[in-house]
Amino acid sequence: MKRNRLAAAAVFVLPLLALLVIWEAVVRAFDVSPRVFPAIEPVVRAGVDAVADGTLIRHIGASLGRIALGTLIGIVIAVPLGVAMGTNRAVSAFFTPLLRFFSVLAGIAWIPIATLWFGYGFGAITFVIFNAVFFVVAYNTLLGVTAIAPPLRHAAASLGASRWRLLTEVLLPGALPNIVTGIRTGLGFAWRGLIAAEMIATNVGLGYMLFVARDFYRTEVIVLGMIVIGLLWLLIDRLLLAPLERATIERWGLVRAA
């Protein structure tokens, strides 16, 4: 079994290694100017330097900190709200179009107004992240709860479930696949909102690191940053989202499309 896992990982990594080889080969063969695209070595060097003097860690820390905080607050508020709204038919009918509108608008579109309300920096960026996660998760939670067929609720009630029990044993598990889908989508918007906002509204963070490097044509820093961003998202996806989805969606079945 372990051998299979390793084999699968190797198969996955192989094309990426091939890509590295192609990268280096192309840069050398066409004598690409370092102001256009760096070779592998400068990127590695930039990476080592940035780790050594702590700047990379600082940027990663800032970005991850913002996204963690915004996401956590977003989920913690959105899920209970979505569940509460979903239990009453009139309330859910009222809020569904509203939440849908706001979830459709969520994230990047709020950058201008966020920087106006909160000024530049941590507050605005975290707000954009919170916004992206909150509306999308709330909307999906609402959808998930309303999609739980009344017979299930009735069944639980006639089996003696108290309201609290109904919530934890029927509503939450029933809505969980949708909630998880909402988290994935919301986090996707939030991540992009993070990078975009960091490019214009702050002086620390991965987006900032990329944008400021552009001014000096330091393409090796840009490419380093892009790779770091890619790896971070892959980590978030593999270590957080995929297990979450495996535990809920795959076990419990398909999710109704939002």
Partner: protein, 275 residues
């Protein structure tokens, strides 16, 4: 059995009116909830809870809407944004569907390209802006590239899903009815994958217009995103709110009344279940 007269509460009356009118006109159901929200907005704005510089009322926004429509700025910016998005989406589809077909149908292509696709998707569209700015400057090419990049991945990934979901027996049925391999792709694989491709398009557009706005904010010389950011620089909230509402309404309309029905129609009509 006697019918007992039970008093109907005013809330029930309201609910009944709501249900009746929305059944006759389903669009109403999407619009009615916004009325109290707008009313609330107006009330909060007028109350002076937040300084009007930060929180204008709906009245001002509407006024600004008419001003910008009249002097042609809003239509021009809107057109710019929409054209960029449409162009980027068209290219994204034109590249993404064939690529998705290839990766979905060929095991070798799948093994070679899937990890690459996942990694590049993870980098995300926005992270490409700095290097694109170096290569192409602050112009249309940069923006189109970002949109194409954004739309490409959901389209490719969903196409692959759809292609692989087409049952083997349908391939075989077509082959034994005389279809060549190429015709099988056109007559069986593409229609079979269509619901998933629609999902991919919908997701792609969702990320795509956000990427557009971000690009317009960072790169822009025109467009709704630029409108909003320029207004922010001038400290004028009204335009920002107007821009957000225009975007929201536009996307809401396109997604709910164009894309979602198409997605539903292809999936449901053919009785296909897809994710």
């Amino acid at each position: 059995m006697n019918s007992v007269a039970i008093a109907v509460s005013p809330w029930q009356r309201v609910w009944s009116a709501y249900v009746r009118s929305t059944t006759r006109h389903p669009a109403l159901a999407s619009l009615v909830p916004f009325v109290p929200v707008v009313a609330l907005w107006a009330a909060v704005a007028r109350s002076g809870l937040f300084p009007p510089v930060f929180f204008p009322g709906p009245g001002e926004v509407v006024q600004k809407f008419f001003t910008l429509m009249a002097n042609g700025i809003l239509p021009a910016y809107l057109e710019d944004s929409v054209v960029r998005l449409a162009a980027g989406t068209a290219v994204g589809l034109a590249l993404g569907i064939p690529l998705g077909l290839l990766v979905g149908l060929s095991d070798r292509a799948h093994r070679a390209l899937w990890p690459v696709l996942l990694f590049f998707q993870a980098i995300g569209d926005i992270a490409w802006l700095p290097i694109l700015l170096i290569w192409f400057g602050f112009g249309l090419t940069t923006m189109i590239f970002v949109i194409v990049y954004t739309v490409l991945f959901p389209v490719v990934l969903n196409t692959v899903l759809g292609v692989r979901a087409v049952p083997l027996e349908l391939h075989r049925a077509a082959l034994s009815l005389g279809a060549s391999k190429a015709r099988v792709v056109w007559e069986v694989v593409l229609p079979g994958a269509l619901p998933n491709i629609m999902t991919g398009l919908r997701n792609g557009l969702g990320f795509g217009w956000r990427a557009l706005i971000a690009a317009e904010i960072i790169v822009g010389t025109s467009g709704i995103g630029f409108l909003m950011f320029d207004a922010r620089r001038a400290g004028s909230v009204v335009e920002i709110l107007l821009g957000m509402i225009v975007l929201g309404v536009l996307w809401y309309v396109v997604d709910s009344w164009v894309l979602a029905p198409i997605e539903r129609a292809t999936g449901e009509r053919w009785g296909l279940v897809h994710r």
